[in-house]
Amino acid sequence: METLGYLIDGFGVALAPHNLMFALLGAFLGTLIGALPGLGPANGVAILIPLAFTLGLAPETALIMLTSVYAGAMYGGRISSILLNIPGDEPAMMTCLDGYPMAQQGKAAEALAISAVASFIGSLVATIGLILLAPVLAKFALTFGPAEYFALFLLAFATLGGITGKNPMKTVVAACIGLMIATMGIDNTGVQRYTFGVLELYEGVDFIIAIVGLFAISELLFFIEERAGGGKEKMTVNKLSLKWADIRNILPSSLRGGVLGFIAGVLPGAGASLGSFIGYTLEKKVVGKKGYFGQGDPRGVAGPEAGNNGASSGALVPMLTLGVPGSGTTAVLLALLISLNITPGPLMFTQNADIVWGVIAALLIGNFLLLLLNIPLVGIFVKLLSVPPMFLLPIVTMIAFVGIYSISNTTFDLYFMVAFGVAGYIFRKLEIPLVPVILGLLLGPEMEKNLRHAMDISDGDWTILWDSGLAIGLWLFAGLGLILPYVVGPLLRRRMKVTTGTGGPEGD
């Protein structure tokens, strides 16, 4: 019941007028970011972080706004899946399977409305799961010593690629690069490392600059390379005619999808893509022959969409309780926490209870806002979808410049950002994932600190790192996280491909 009290306090924070206003703004911007071409959720949240600083927002307000952006981006991602058969982000892939056929049958408005309701239910289920699970996990995490934390960080890196990831070794390479960049600057014994005497490097590399460069600038370069500046054809959406029976019809699918998605989101290495995939396959199994999946069955829209949103809320659990994010966007949210001087992890639940619970309450409120925003305003978002990237991306780049410039008012940071952008482009070409680089940058200092503490405790005996049952378990899972992609990865990837391949649009 303690939880309930905290939650009520959280609502007190989230319902404060200015917080509510920023939640609404965040939800709107988030949907926009999710819907617009070339602006993934991680990218969008990253660009908004420096702006949140320059606005001088209070920590809880900044976090509430960006969590709403995060939730909104998941809503927005489905719009282009349904209307264009182009998933806005990877987890939205499964929504294409039945959403696009529905749109082709002239039921685009219904598909959008159903997916909004399903997203809402999925997030709601997962947020309730978060409320129940997070305090328990946080309490458990209090028993972690430095050795366990060190192993936990390794686990986070090892599972970041996910079991459907392609080449785990590239995740390792990426993580090393990120961790190496994190060691630049003056360490906590006061020694300068890799600063090359450059004054600006004494404080290390600001990860916000790195994140914005890696995501936003490299995205611009990718669009230029693909010459995808032209944009898409204009779309129209029919008038909505949705009956209660339709919503009742998709309720069970949404609930199942939400629960599954939540589990996939919490577990390391699963992630939203797998969540929506399992959501879809399960729906197909449960409904069986009565359904017409792949030909515009509303339940085929609801299941994966609920799963995808459930997973994104579920992914907040490890981020908030352990301080280890499981996805790119939660990594960016972690960056925000660290820059706000809030140490993520179990202590946050006691030391910054108002912030944590304010954010959780904001998630609940944000979901209602998103549902309210999404059904009547979908027309606006659809219009924005046809903004050609050739105008959009340069403006986004400019906003990234303004944001970074406003942090410190120096051009040095801007050069740095461009350099990270070029590096990000090269990494993406080589299929080196960017998220582990960022996670390395974020977790590097903590990881080294925990290693140092563990060694101080054991007086230089390295075996302390695998001395407790918990630590051994974490090492084991980390090992599995690297080995499993080789074993089951190809199989799962093939299955996902088969489903999306055959389920896509057949003719026209």
Binding site: T54, L55, K166, N167, M169, K170, V172, V173, C176, I177, M180, T183, D187, T189, G190, V191, R193, Y194, L220, L221, F223, I224, E225, R227, G229, G230, P388, P389, M390, F391, L393, P394, I395, T397, M398, I399, F401, V402, Y405, S406, T411, L414, Y415, M417, V418, G421, V422, Y425, K429, L430, E431, I432, M447, E448, L451, R452, M455, D456, S458, G460
Partner: protein, 148 residues
């Protein structure tokens, strides 16, 4: 082939980084179990091993954009660098007009529309930051416009 070259570069980086770690001075107050060099040394070992894997078992290559697209990319990077360099001297509005305009134009828009977009976005963001958010962006050569 890409992976092999990258792997070799990374090994060079890792060795240089590891060597750099051994050159770090001992912290004030004597050495400890984990000094400033321990963690970097660990990283360089892991990076050498994982890069070796890339060299031994490389993934299939993605094509690099040579020729025209490559030049477009180069132009874009040059524009970004110039944007950063000119932001203070030229001022936010002018440099944004040039940078956003050039990028829009190179991405396929008609030149007039491109630079109009750039100018409009520059003015709007400038006004928004200076008046609504109370954050001064540089005016540069347009500083004679400054009010009060």
């Amino acid at each position: 082939m890409n992976d092999r070259i990258f792997g070799i570069l990374l090994i060079v980086l890792a060795v240089a980084y590891g060597w750099g770690a051994t050159q770090l001075p001992a912290p004030f107050g004597g050495s400890e179990a984990v000094g400033p060099e321990t963690f970097p040394l660990l990283l360089s070992v892991v990076l050498v091993l994982s890069s070796l894997y890339l060299i031994v078992r490389p993934d299939p290559d993605n094509a690099w954009p040579w020729s025209r697209t490559g030049i477009e990319l180069l132009i874009a990077v040059v524009v970004l660098v110039l944007y950063a360099a000119l932001l203070q001297p030229l001022g936010f509005i002018l440099s944004t007009t040039l940078a956003v305009g050039t990028l829009c134009w190179r991405m396929g828009s008609a030149p007039v529309r491109a630079y109009l977009t750039g100018a409009a976005s520059g003015v709007v963001v400038f006004l928004l930051f200076n008046f609504a958010l109370d954050l001064a962006l540089p005016l540069g050569v347009l500083s004679f416009l400054e009010v009060g």
